[in-house]
């Protein structure tokens, strides 16, 4: 104990350096965690989090009882996670290989710069762009195709719309990581394969793809921890938070945001959040464990 204190005193400068970030995390990450006890309380605004009476697992019972909302948003959250992850990874890899194979490097560089731009546009701005394309009277799509589709009240179309927007937003950026792996492949491998008579496709299949597999695995596993989280902006802004679309666009995060504004039953919402956080935590621990087994240098902890 004494040597420990001595060590701390010796490193007092480091303690002081770590302090500001420590405090910011304490007040803006750790203290809010305690707010989750609301999940076990019947929250009363005037009594505050700690003063509100306990109600055991009432909120969770309510959660399971209100099947329609709860199941719908959980289903949507999972559905979009799978679509975005599978399609996104596939497109990231395809784009990375395509750019890597393209011999006009200057041209590829300019194209890549343009492809990355969308990720830097906030969804608050993106929704106006989407509106320009799909609004009923003035939208480009309806005009070009001579149709009169009311996109903002047709829920069944939104999985497609949101997927297109999400891919537009993230694929260019997502491919950067895979490109850095491709840049590290020894060109002699390709040359040897070519001498052995392998064509382009076979080279990609036997050299490029295997080189990408570790990174793909790691990225997929690490994304598992976010299975219950969504890009709130996409679901809240781009859909204009339109109630008639909720059946296909309401995800847990956008539901929580709405609940805060509507001042609805906070205990119930906290129960949802707790459910979301715990599932996320378990999956993250699981995924990290797997990554640590297969590729220790890429595990998070």
């Amino acid at each position: 104990m004494k040597s420990f204190l001595k060590n701390i005193w010796h490193h007092r400068a480091h303690v002081i350096m770590a302090l500001p970030a420590f405090l910011i995390l304490l007040f803006f990450s750790y203290v809010p965690m305690s707010g989750l006890v609301m999940a076990f309380k019947s929250y009363d605004y005037s009594a505050g989090i700690w003063g509100s009476p306990w109600n055991g697992i009432e909120n969770f019972k309510f959660l399971l009882a209100s099947k329609a909302t709860f199941i719908n948003m959980t289903k949507n959250t999972l559905m979009y996670y799978f679509i975005f992850t599978i399609l996104g990874t596939f497109l990231n890899v395809v784009l990375a290989i395509a750019i890597d194979q393209f011999v006009f490097k200057k041209c590829a560089k300019v194209m890549q710069t343009i492809m990355i731009i969308p990720v830097f546009i906030s969804y608050a701005a993106v929704q106006f762009i989407v509106y320009a394309f799909i609004s009923t009277d003035t939208g480009i799509l309806n005009n070009a195709l001579g149709m009169n589709v009311r996109f903002y009240s047709t829920a069944s179309l939104w999985p497609i719309i949101l997927t297109v927007v999400k891919m537009w937003n993230s694929v260019g950026y997502g491919s950067v990581l895979y490109m850095s792996v491709l840049a590290g492949i020894d060109t002699e491998l390709y040359e040897a394969a070519e001498i052995d008579g392998a064509n382009k496709w076979r080279q990609i299949w036997h050299i490029t793809l295997p080189a990408l597999i570790p990174m793909i695995t790691v990225m997929l596993l690490l994304s598992v921890g976010n299975i219950m989280r969504s890009d709130t902006g996409l679901f809240y802004q781009v859909t204009r938070n339109s109630g008639s679309l909720y059946s296909t666009t309401q995800v847990i995060d956008s539901y929580v945001l709405n609940a805060i504004f509507k001042n609805s039953n906070f205990g119930f919402v906290a129960a949802t959040t707790l459910f979301q956080s715990v599932i996320g935590l378990l999956l993250m621990l699981f995924a990290n464990g797997v990554v640590r087994k297969i590729s220790p240098e890429n595990s998070l902890f």
């Binding site: 490193h11 350096m17 750790y30 989090i49 395509a98 731009i117 969804y123 805060i260």
Partner: protein, 311 residues
């Protein structure tokens, strides 16, 4: 890296990388298509902003408008002082948040990477937990507003986004892998204290990594609408993104309330948002990032790569 590759290829003619067959042009065509898919929606914003309002309401949005006009851009100026204020708020939040975040995270990363510092293990775990588990928006909202009483406080736009686990890991990885320990030890032998070693030796060497992290942080701050929507109520603290959200909300309001009396519409004066003006506002909001981004591209690409590898 690439220079070395070229040297290697020089003796093999024609090399794999230099052969320009038909396949390359087909590939180029598809890449061009995807580039257009990314670029055209953004181009549309610029075109719509300079399209005559009547052309939009009658014929809809178009890449080839019948009539151009500067009215949209001009009417953005009607938001005038509010736009200026919002710009000020956003710039303040972005600059202060990024600089503060970089400083505290670099110090933290430096501290936990010191050998022999017995608290570093604890601090690493302390850093990791918020990535695994968090209270969620609702808890944050209740704690920040009811307990910290920080509703409508600009600090809430800055502090919650200030320290992120991933960014600290990126900085720490860079310190451990790319800054020679000998350099810092030499400084200490020459009599520099801990602080001086950090500020005069480590910090300058940390620049490439800080550029990457800093750029990512800056875009996060610039694009944050959620915290603003949750916490900011007064006009003089509204950042640009909240302005966009509000414009959308007022459009919605007018659309859904066709029977808003004429007098009320008149009272809103020039504030009834029009398509071209809205698009012009979007340009004003996203413009700065699009101008700055190409200069930082190489840094954040490097940062992304480093971030994928644990320290």
């Amino acid at each position: 890296m690439s220079a070395k590759k070229k040297m290697k290829n020089a003796d093999l003619v024609p090399s794999r990388r230099e052969r320009k067959g038909v396949g390359q042009y087909i590939l180029g065509f598809f890449l061009l298509l995807y580039t257009l898919f990314c670029a055209l929606p953004i181009l549309l914003v610029f075109i719509a902003a300079f399209t005559d309002e009547k052309a939009i309401t009658q014929n809809g949005f178009s890449f080839f408008p019948e009539k151009w006009s500067l009215a949209g851009m001009n009417s953005v100026l009607r938001y005038g002082s509010q736009l200026l204020t919002s710009y000020g708020v956003t710039i303040f939040v972005t600059v202060v948040g990024t600089l503060l975040g970089l400083m505290v995270m670099a110090m933290f990363a430096y501290a936990i990477s010191r050998k022999g510092f017995r608290l570093s293990k604890f601090l690493s775990v302390y850093l990791l937990i918020p990535m695994l588990f968090n209270g969620g928006q609702l808890s944050c909202y209740v704690i920040f507003t009811s307990y910290y009483h920080m509703k409508d406080n600009v600090l809430l736009l800055i502090l919650p986004l200030c320290v992120t686990t991933m960014n600290v890991i990126i900085l720490r990885t860079y310190i451990v892998n790319s800054i020679p320990l000998e350099l810092m030890e030499a400084a200490k032998i020459d009599g520099a204290g801990e602080y001086r070693t950090f500020f005069q030796i480590t910090l300058p060497l940390l620049k490439p990594s800080m550029a990457a992290v800093g750029f990512m942080m800056a875009t996060t701050y610039w694009n944050d609408w959620q915290n603003a929507l949750l916490y900011i109520t007064s006009d003089d603290k509204k950042p640009l993104q909240l302005l966009l959200v509000n414009i959308q909300k007022s459009i919605e309001f007018l659309l859904n309330n066709a029977n808003v009396p004429a007098s009320a519409r008149a009272a809103m004066g020039g504030n009834i948002p029009q398509y071209s003006a809205t698009m012009a506002t979007v340009i004003v909001v996203i413009g700065p990032i699009m101008v700055i981004y190409p200069f930082f591209q190489k840094y954040f690409i490097k940062g992304l790569t480093v971030g994928s590898v644990k320290g």
